[in-house]
């Protein structure tokens, strides 16, 4: 326990804190590059269309804005993408994630997809949990600083 306690002590804090800060920044930026190399997203295709034809494109949590006979159109990052294929329970306004190869006409052939439900409830859940737990934590932090030896 002694080394563990030492790493949390005020004695080593002036060294540990900046080292950890730099390490966290490196991990943050490094992970950004990992994610960047993982999949082609629709807004990347829109920025560099010649690079993405034939590649598998992933759109996460896009909104369906139009339904057609052969497929549907979804909007992601303010950009519209036509998808060939269909999914169960598809309707305008629904939030979907899709994946498939991009054709040279700019449409995606649907290989895998999912219609996400309960989106509002999930948002509400996030706000509720952050509000309740966040305020309890802030109150506890206040108590800790008022009575550090309690």
């Amino acid at each position: 326990m002694a080394p563990f306690a030492a790493l949390l002590s005020d004695r080593f804090r002036p060294v540990v804190l900046p080292v950890l800060g730099v390490l966290l920044l490196v991990l943050w930026l490094g992970y950004g590059r990992v994610v960047d190399a993982r999949a082609v997203t629709w807004d990347e295709v829109a920025r560099a269309p010649e690079a993405a034809v034939g590649e598998v494109v992933v759109v996460s949590f896009g909104r369906v804005i139009e339904m057609g006979a052969e497929g549907f159109v979804l909007r992601d990052e303010g950009l519209d993408l036509a998808v060939r294929g269909t999914l169960p329970d598809l309707a305008p306004g629904r939030i979907v994630s899709v994946m498939g190869p991009l054709d040279d006409d700019g449409t995606v052939e649907l290989r895998e997809g999912h219609v996400h439900g309960l989106r509002r409830l999930k948002w509400l859940s996030g706000v509720l949990a952050l509000g309740v737990v966040g305020s309890l934590v802030l109150a506890d932090l206040g108590r800790m600083w008022r009575e550090p030896n309690a």
Binding site: F4, A5, L7, L8, S9, D10, R13, V16, L17, L20, G21, L23, L24, L27, W28, L29, G30, Y31, G32, R33, V34, V35, D36, R38, A39, D43, V58, S60, E77, G78, S97, V98, M99, E112, G113, H114, H116, G117, L118, R119, L121, K122, S125, G126, L128, A129, L130, V132, V133, G134, L136, V137, D140, L141, M144, W145, P148, N149
Partner: protein, 159 residues
């Protein structure tokens, strides 16, 4: 991610035997911290992208998801507890860490469209994995059951 109420309730239930109320609170806080530290930054980034365009490249915002991986998350917890009074740090770090890892364990059971979004051993390797047992919103169906369980635990702890 499953919804945050599910994460909080699972954290609360997992810590039902903790005698210290403070430790239980910080375990629950840990159970929402991975999302608070990463997904909130992602949302802020998307909003910033909409309002300001490409001022900050998307990969920088996306990088905050590193705090949703066990090793960077542990370092983040260590960094955060160094800001509380020294005497409290050893009490807060273990529940914060366990709560967060519980969150990550639950998240890794999910299913997403596209490549596996989780890299459990980052930065050692960028190998991705998820169990694919349920979609991201399915956890909401478990909330009523978890809430009843949490009420039971709350009453038991008061008695």
């Amino acid at each position: 991610m499953p919804d945050l109420v599910t994460h909080s309730l699972v954290g609360y239930l997992a810590g039902f035997r903790l005698r210290s109320r403070r430790m239980l609170l910080w375990l629950v806080a840990g159970s929402i911290l991975p999302d608070a530290a990463s997904v909130s930054v992602l949302f802020a980034g998307r909003l910033g992208h909409r309002l300001l365009g490409d001022v900050v490249p998307a990969w920088i915002w996306n990088g905050s998801y590193a705090f949703h991986m066990p090793i960077p998350f542990a370092l983040l917890c260590w960094f955060l507890v160094l800001w509380v009074p020294e005497r409290q740090r050893p009490t807060l770090l273990p529940p914060l860490l366990l709560g967060g890892w519980l969150h990550l364990g639950l998240d890794y059971l999910q299913l997403h469209v596209g490549p596996d979004p989780y890299h459990p051993f980052y930065p050692a390797t960028s190998w991705g994995w998820e169990a694919g047992w349920f979609w991201t919103e399915t956890s909401l169906y478990a909330v009523p059951v978890l809430a009843v369980g949490a009420c039971g635990v709350w009453l038991w702890r008061r008695s």
